[in-house]
């Protein structure tokens, strides 16, 4: 214990001497947090730009424009008189969807000839395209309902009968764990911890590489009494504390003042937070232990780490990916963190549900020990080699 503290003190002196990287990384984490917290304040994008191609120029088409503008989700930014102009606007990225109202629509409606509207959208921008499509489709449904209501009124039905006729079934939707379908809640809860874990991983690789490159390994091992576990534990401990604190503060802000939903109990979430950074560092130690060439180890770590955002499975579900990635995802601490978050914050489940993932996070400790053993072996070889 005392030796670990001694190595940790040595590491802190090293940081004080060259604080540049730790400051930069800390600023990076703060920037990431602020970025997601401020950019997606709306939760879901509001007033997405859409257009109307109005070839009819009638009372109906103009009224539809007004009604689209009255919704929160989309805003008509332009009215065109031909399809090509709207398509070009879409290619310029100015609009994400548009309605095309052909000539003679109003006449057709009046004469019950069911005119066809075109509803064009651009899911190449998946979020904006899908959302603006959904809004416009809803508006279309409502407009059709309005026409039906007019007709039924004239046929002498009362309001309740009319509602039963034009709205026979409806959904009562409950979104478990994110009642506002907020994009911010969905992204930040996983992305911010993922960035912190990713940084911890890369920094571990960098730090271990620097010890070799600066030829300071011997002094490190001496301080640790020749024990590689002590050396690495002491070396990484200050950063573990630092990044874990940052992660905890981020979580406290998200689930506190930012009011992200939290159904379960805090201690379990805290446990996951406490385990995430050490697990990522252990993965780093393992890579650095296996690959003794520091730049190559960093490269491998970069490839492994960069996939963590995908393989956490929070955006595109793991079960929809090819099977091999299902297994690979177990190699990522953030995957287990995400699953624990789902259990605790979304469903309010206890340890009986998320224990496999907590165990997996603990299991990274074993990886770390293997890495440290390899590091020790490499050190012995290095010591023995002729000067």
């Amino acid at each position: 214990m005392a030796r670990i503290a001694r190595v940790a003190r040595r590491e802190m002196r090293r940081v004080v001497k060259k604080p540049r990287y730790l400051i930069l990384l800390t600023l990076g984490i703060i920037l990431t947090f602020t970025f997601f917290a401020t950019m997606m304040r709306e939760g879901q994008p509001q007033r997405l730009p859409v257009a109307v191609v109005d070839m009819d120029g009638s009372y109906l088409s103009r009224r539809l424009c007004h009604e689209i503008n009255a919704t929160q989700g989309v805003e008509v930014v332009a009215v065109y008189d031909n399809h090509t102009a709207a398509r070009l606007a879409m290619q310029r990225g100015e609009i994400f969807a548009f309605y095309e109202i052909p000539k003679g629509t109003y006449n057709d409606v009046l004469q019950f000839r069911s005119p066809h509207f075109g509803l064009y959208s651009n899911p190449a921008y998946l979020l904006a395209g899908t959302l603006s499509y959904k809004q416009l489709a809803t508006m279309g449904m409502l407009a059709a309902g309005a026409v039906q209501r007019e007709v039924l009124r004239k046929k002498g039905y009362n309001e309740e009968q009319i509602m039963g006729l034009i709205m026979p079934v409806e959904f009562d939707t409950h979104l478990v764990g994110n009642p506002w379908a907020s994009y911010q809640v969905y992204l930040m809860t996983t992305l911010v911890p993922a960035v912190i874990a990713f940084i911890a991983l890369l920094q571990t690789l960098y730090l271990m590489g620097r010890e070799w490159e600066e030829r300071t390994v011997r002094s490190l091992m001496k301080k640790a009494g020749g024990n590689a576990f002590v050396a690495l534990a002491g070396k990484l401990l200050p950063y573990t504390v630092h990044f874990t604190l940052l992660l905890l503060v981020a979580e406290l802000i998200m689930f506190g003042p930012m009011h992200f939903p939290m159904a379960g109990n805090w201690p379990l979430m805290m446990l996951a937070c406490l385990l995430l950074v050490p697990a990522a560092q252990c993965a780093g130690v393992f890579i650095a232990g296996c690959i003794q060439d520091p730049p190559l180890a960093t490269g491998i770590g970069a490839v492994y780490g960069a996939l963590c955002f995908s393989l956490s499975g929070f955006s595109f579900p793991i079960e929809a990916m090819p099977n091999v990635f299902n297994g690979l995802s177990w190699l990522y601490p953030i995957r287990h963190f995400y699953r624990t978050y789902c259990d605790v914050a979304i469903f309010g489940n206890g340890l009986e549900h998320c224990w496999p993932h907590i165990c997996a996070l603990l299991g990274f400790g074993v990886l770390g020990m293997v890495g440290a053993a390899m590091f020790a072996r490499h050190y012995r070889q290095w010591e023995r080699r002729p000067a």
Partner: protein
């Protein structure tokens, strides 16, 4: 003039030699640019999630509710894995992650329909991934509309309206839904084009910062400038080095932006000429941006990678393909245009996914040229800075 070209040529060849004699840069330029695109394409190649497991609680058990459940099961988006007797059972399944949505048809579903009142269906959706939500709600809504039309037709028939009149009344306006681009709404087709451009941006940037860091580390900062040119124009050095990276990135871009999308059947609507014309200022801008950053700030070869790699996540979101630019706060929008990745990704996505011509991406194209110009000047200044302050 001849002398200028000769100088540029000399720097160019020296730089090429440096790239090919350095293991790290070779890894970044030729291995990372292969691994990343292939890995991401393999991950997202399935594009969609089919058959989301859902549970159904049918307390009504009438003809209409059974029809609804049948139709629900037939949807490509969802698959009815469990039929539960009560909500508690279904809830437990959701807690166990065995289903991701629950459709609840209450006991009065059938009677309400028979009474010609509005019947309700409860939908409970697991929000741990937006994909679950999308499948359950979008698939469910399409089914709901279909079911509504069926019931409406029945009701109109009872009210004495039938035939064409009834169907016209049910659908007084017909909506033809056309997805102009990425017609199936696939996740890969949306995500990967942006990612490929980001891979080009980041590998080029890291390659250059690694070279700058190494030059500084080995206390040969000036080895970026050939001895004969040390007293001469720094512009020639900068131009010569940029030429080297353009040449390197011709085959790399062909692979990343042309071959990979072809192999994985990603959208490729743009003409190759447009793309080539668009890539030129992009690569120049990234090169000069990397040089500026590398010469001013990077002191060790790996520090650029250490501090810059996590930034890829921010660059991706700053580019505005996920959260649209129209909804970004002004500050972040302005900030995003500091990086060539923003106009680069926007332009590339529109060229390759929507088939835009250069004219349609002129804003981005212009932005890239402006960035290339500004960063060229700063890159020259950074060299001057090195010459002045980091004597060998």
């Amino acid at each position: 003039m001849k002398l200028i070209l000769q100088d540029i040529w000399e720097v160019f060849t020296a730089e090429l030699r440096r790239v090919f004699s350095n293991r790290m840069t070779l890894l970044v330029f030729f291995v990372a640019t292969v691994i990343y695109p292939l890995a991401f394409c393999a991950i997202y190649n399935t594009e969609y999630m089919h058959n989301l497991p859902v549970a159904v609680v049918d307390e009504s058990r009438c003809e209409a509710s059974k029809r609804f459940v049948h139709k629900l099961d037939a949807l490509p988006e969802v698959d009815v894995h469990f039929r539960c007797n009560n909500m508690a059972e279904a809830e437990q399944l959701m807690r166990d992650h065995r289903v991701h949505a629950i459709f609840y048809l209450p006991a009065d579903y059938g009677t309400r329909l028979a009474d010609m009142r509005t019947a309700r269906i409860g939908v409970f959706c697991d929000m741990s991934s937006f994909y679950y939500y999308k499948n359950a709600v979008v698939g469910g809504s399409n089914l709901l509309i279909d079911e509504m039309h069926t019931i409406e037709l029945e009701r109109y028939a009872m009210a004495g309206i039938d035939g064409e009149q009834a169907s016209n009344l049910v659908q007084p306006v017909v909506y033809d839904d056309v997805k102009l681009y990425n017609p199936a709404g696939g996740f890969g087709s949306f995500f990967i084009p942006a990612l490929l451009m980001l891979v080009l941006h980041q590998t080029l940037f890291f390659g250059i910062t690694i070279m700058a860091g190494e030059a500084n580390e080995s206390r040969r900062a000036l080895h970026l400038i050939p001895p004969r040119l040390r007293s001469r124009s720094i512009h020639r050095v900068t131009a010569g080095r940029a030429l080297c990276f353009i040449l390197l990135y011709i085959p790399i871009s062909c692979f990343v932006l042309w071959l990979v999308p072809r192999w994985f059947s990603l959208p490729q609507l743009g003409s190759p000429l447009t793309l080539a014309a668009f890539l030129l200022p992009f690569i120049l801008a990234v090169t000069f941006f990397g040089m500026t950053f590398g010469n001013f700030f990077v002191h060790e070869k790996m520090s650029g990678v250490l501090c810059g790699l996590f930034f890829s996540v921010l660059l991706f979101f700053l580019s505005g393909v996920v959260w649209p630019q129209s909804n970004m706060p002004r500050f972040w929008l302005a900030f995003s245009y500091l990086f060539p990745s923003t106009p680069g990704i926007q332009g590339f996505v529109r060229i390759s996914s929507t088939g835009a011509a250069l004219h349609e991406v002129r804003g981005e194209y212009l932005a890239l040229w402006v960035q290339a110009g500004v960063y060229f000047i700063t890159a020259c200044q950074s060299l001057r800075f090195i010459k002045k302050y980091r004597k060998p």
